[in-house]
Amino acid sequence: MPDALALSWRQYRLERRMFWRNPSAAFFNFVLPLLFLAAGGAILSGNQHQLNKLVPAIAAMSVMATTFTALAYNVVFLRERGVLKRIHGTPLPTLSYFAGLAANAVTNAALQIVIVVLAGRALFGIGWPQHAFELIVFVIAGVSCFAGLGVAFAHVIPNFESTAAYVNAVFLPVVFVSFYVFDSRSAPGFLRTIADALPLKPLIEGLSAAIVGGPGLVGNLDQLAVIALWGLFGIIFAVRGFSWESPA
């Protein structure tokens, strides 16, 4: 009998192949964050203090884009196209299916972090990550959190046509608020409160400490706790509200 682990692996390989065959998905996953990095780097050129902030911020944004955004898109697309319903009628174990789907997003997130770190080193003189362990912990936490939230958010999106609107209505404000508060000491108090409560800024803080150097894991436990709470919330709703077919 084909076992669940082997099937997860096969599903993962299929998802990888489908990902690379879709040029626009590959573009948004890999090129867009690099463009942000290049544009930000050009503006902040010569200001090492600012460049040190830019690289972890872009890395965190990449994690959100490759998991939250990509999974929300993917799940809505597969649901509305009827692929999920078809898969649900086969003996493929549900867990194997989601393991393959999630591992695909995780791979993109990991590749993206590597690209951003390498680009930061090559272009902006950022050194190798200071704390590898901390980096791994925060990447795992961020990826699980935003992956869960992405699948959960897909339940709210009624049809494929409106996916971009729904996703960007969340993604863009969260990115702007988090970047602004992370960068500016003079951000208004209420914005600071909002950014601290959302999962992206804690992820930026964690990645910043790991890549550039900072308070270390123990000093960032509160940030990790915020990410973990959002992750728990996301995963619970991802599982509970899941629909294998279009509601229409």
């Binding site: 009998m1 299929l14 192949r17 009827g82 692929v83 319903k85 078809r86 009628g89």
Partner: protein, 285 residues
């Protein structure tokens, strides 16, 4: 479980969506190796019934057994033994039929060969074409191929030929007939009388969630060739005749008309429609 137990046993099945009751006490029993047709118009409750049997929907009432399982339990063991062609099911846009079949085959312990399934469904020429470039009929054949690759004992076909041209329909029929020859049990829904007649050993005629009649197609009048011949006489009168032997009747009518030097205006020959069968069945009731 004995081999002679029915493949599907349904008793007093009910399904309610809010105020609307889509299925109202359906009783059917499908024998192993049988091709069973659910025949009815759109909205009759065919798909709801089939999707309950496939494990997609929860029933409101009644008892259901599919290969000895309650499909509501969604046992993997059951899904290994059934193949499903949904009324509309999608597939990744960038996958080819060969890749999709290979992937689907990996879900099963003893799948059929991908090559064999490609030829059976006539998809050989498109085996390496991305699915987004396939036509509607080719995608429908891929639906059938994906349902067959696990070599299931029981196959659900929900309107397998809707939207096909006549040639594609014949090809699908012969593929389905060859499944019967392999000893597969098939539950088929359709709103085409000729499809039920060509494929099904027995048919349940279903309307508004109820079964109007069950039996071999011929006994239900589904296959009884009550052709309806309509024409307008030279006097302007519209005449309708029913016959079992349309060839003889047409010969008679045209010979008479020619002998009189008249034309048979508006001549039409119609095969019985589902509506005719309903009318007959409801009139008998």
């Amino acid at each position: 479980m004995s081999e002679t137990a029915p493949a599907i046993e349904v008793r007093a099945l009910r399904k309610r969506y809010g105020e609307y009751e889509a299925v109202r006490g359906i009783v059917i029993s499908v024998r192993r190796g049988e091709v069973f047709g659910l025949l009815g118009p759109n909205g009759a409750g065919k798909t709801t019934t089939v999707e309950i049997l496939e494990g997609y929907r929860a029933r409101t009432g009644g008892e259901v057994s599919v290969l000895g399982h309650d499909p509501a339990d969604r046992a993997i063991e059951l899904r290994r033994r059934i193949g499903i062609v949904l009324q509309s099911g999608g597939i990744y846009g960038h996958i080819t039929p060969r890749e999709a079949l290979r992937h689907w085959a990996s879900f099963y312990a003893h799948p059929r060969s991908v090559q064999e399934v490609l030829s059976l469904t006539g998809l050989q020429p498109q085996a390496d074409v991305r699915s987004r470039r396939l036509s509607g009929g080719q995608l429908r054949r891929l639906d059938l191929a994906l349902a067959l690759v696990g070599d299931p004992e029981l196959i659900f076909l929900d309107e397998p030929t809707t939207g096909f041209d006549p040639e594609a329909r014949r090809a699908a029929w012969s593929a389905i007939s060859s499944l019967r020859d392999l000893g597969k049990t098939i539950l088929l829904t359709t709103h085409y009388l000729d499809e039920a007649q060509a494929l099904a050993d027995r048919v349940a005629i279903i309307k508004e969630g109820r079964i109007l009649a069950i039996g071999p197609p011929r006994e239900l009048g589904v296959g009884a060739a009550h052709y309806r011949v309509v024409y307008r006489t030279a006097g302007g009168e519209l005449v309708e005749r029913q016959t079992d032997d349309v060839t003889a009747l047409l010969h008679e009518l045209t010979a008479e008309a020619l002998a009189r030097g008249e034309r048979l205006e508006e001549l039409s020959v119609a095969r019985p429609t589902l509506e005719d069968v309903y009318l007959e069945l409801t009139a008998d009731a």
